[in-house]
């Protein structure tokens, strides 16, 4: 009984504490750089689209809100023909960023994306693509990958030997 009264008294004293609430639109929130907010598609250091349309973000997504279609340019470089995120379904879990093998898809510290119309929460590639490398500068997947996609020739990538001469008889 006494402990109940003590509890009530202590709770009552909270009347005079500093409040945790921030008066949001007037006062902005201080977000950590790795805050999982708005999803963007980034570009590599050479200005090309980083996304290679591997579908790993789509399959990692627990709410299945990512849909894309991979296609290829004349040099064999893969890129998404369309890339759609339905933010009205997104739970901002960041699995897509974890799954992305090319640092293309990134979650950035921005959450101000409310809309009056749900349809406006469906973002296409044009809405997602930003002209920046985002959190991971300096990485270009096609320089590290084995295949030739107009970025580098066979054997000119990172840690690659020159192509094998099939006709050579040298040991």
């Amino acid at each position: 009984m006494l402990s109940h009264i003590r509890t009530m008294w202590l709770v009552f004293l909270h009347l005079f504490r500093k409040k945790e609430t921030i008066e949001y639109p007037e006062e902005k929130v201080d977000l950590h750089p790795r805050y999982r907010g708005r999803i963007v598609l980034t570009k590599d250091p050479d200005g090309g689209e980083r996304c290679v349309g591997c579908y790993l973000c789509a399959v990692a997504c627990p709410v299945d809100c990512i849909a894309l279609q991979a296609t290829e340019d004349e040099y064999g470089r893969r890129y998404p023909d369309f890339f759609r995120i339905n933010f009205s379904r997104c739970i901002f879990c960041g699995f897509c960023e974890d799954a992305c093998p090319t640092y293309a898809i990134q979650l950035i510290p921005d959450f101000e994306m409310a809309e009056y119309n749900r349809q406006n929460l469906v973002f296409e590639k044009e809405d997602l693509l930003i002209d920046s490398q985002g959190k991971y500068p300096g990485y270009n997947f096609y320089r590290v990958a084995g295949l030739e996609a107009g970025v580098k020739k066979k054997g000119e990538g990172v840690n690659e030997e020159a192509p094998v001469d099939v006709h050579s008889l040298l040991p």
Binding site: M8, F12, L15, K18, E23
Partner: protein, 321 residues
Amino acid sequence: MTTTQQIWIVIGVLFVLLNIAAGLIWVERRLLALWQDRLGPNRAGPLGILIVLADTLKLFFKEDWIPPFADKWIFVTAPAIVVGSVLLSFVIIPFAPGIVVADLNIGIIFFLAMSSLGVYSIVLGGWASNNKYALLGALRGASQMIAYEVFMGLSLMGVVMLTGSFNLGDIVMAQQHLWYVVTQPVGFIIFLIAGVAETHRLPFDIPEAESELIAGYHAEYSGMKFGMFFIGEYLGITLISAMIVTLFFGGWLGPSFLPPLAWFAIKLFFFIGLFILLRASLPRPRYDQLVSYGWKILLPLVLANVLITGAVALWLRGVRL
């Protein structure tokens, strides 16, 4: 008093009560927020008071849905019962000298009768919803009511014995020198506890317990029918607070620099605040704990209180005789 005056009093009491009940929406949210280190509703109107309006409008415009599996007429009637019975209880409250709707000489008995009627709304609402959670809520409500109704009445007997009257006006007047909270502390505490249980407010909101029964007996209700239960609850808080003030804290009595009505209001709001503080600070007991607490501890205690008060009263009268 003329009939016109009587009508004005009725209208005035009704108006003030319903406003208080609605205003409590805001008061409760603000207070709860403050006690939880938040700000609470502060956007609509000054200090967010227009949340009351917004909430009421919302309730009015919500889809008024009756589940196809429900017993339609009982389903519709149930929420009206709770508001009706609580409002009728206010009839006997003396707000200030002369401001009382009906100065009945069986005031307390009438109050107990009306508050017992309130349980019908819970039982019928839960029953008519034809939903297992609602029915469980209704069952809990009924057993809780039976348990606490008994000593709620008994806890007031000390006051009645000391005054020698069921009339609330007489009880207030009998406290001119000493509030009954001093002579009847056990009665006060037990009435407070029973009152919380009677209004099924936290921590005794067993019939609706969100975390166990979703929303208990009113799980299927929406729109203004839910609003009736909602208003009924706030009216209940006001009623119990008013009864506590009247029975134990001298009603409208107070130093003359303020009018009697103001004293009544100040005391009333203090107890309403206490109700909200209870909600903010105490956890909900288990259902069996609540019931066994009522029957095994409070009932013997209140019986002892009646016995001792009776003995002392007799003894005092005997000395005088």
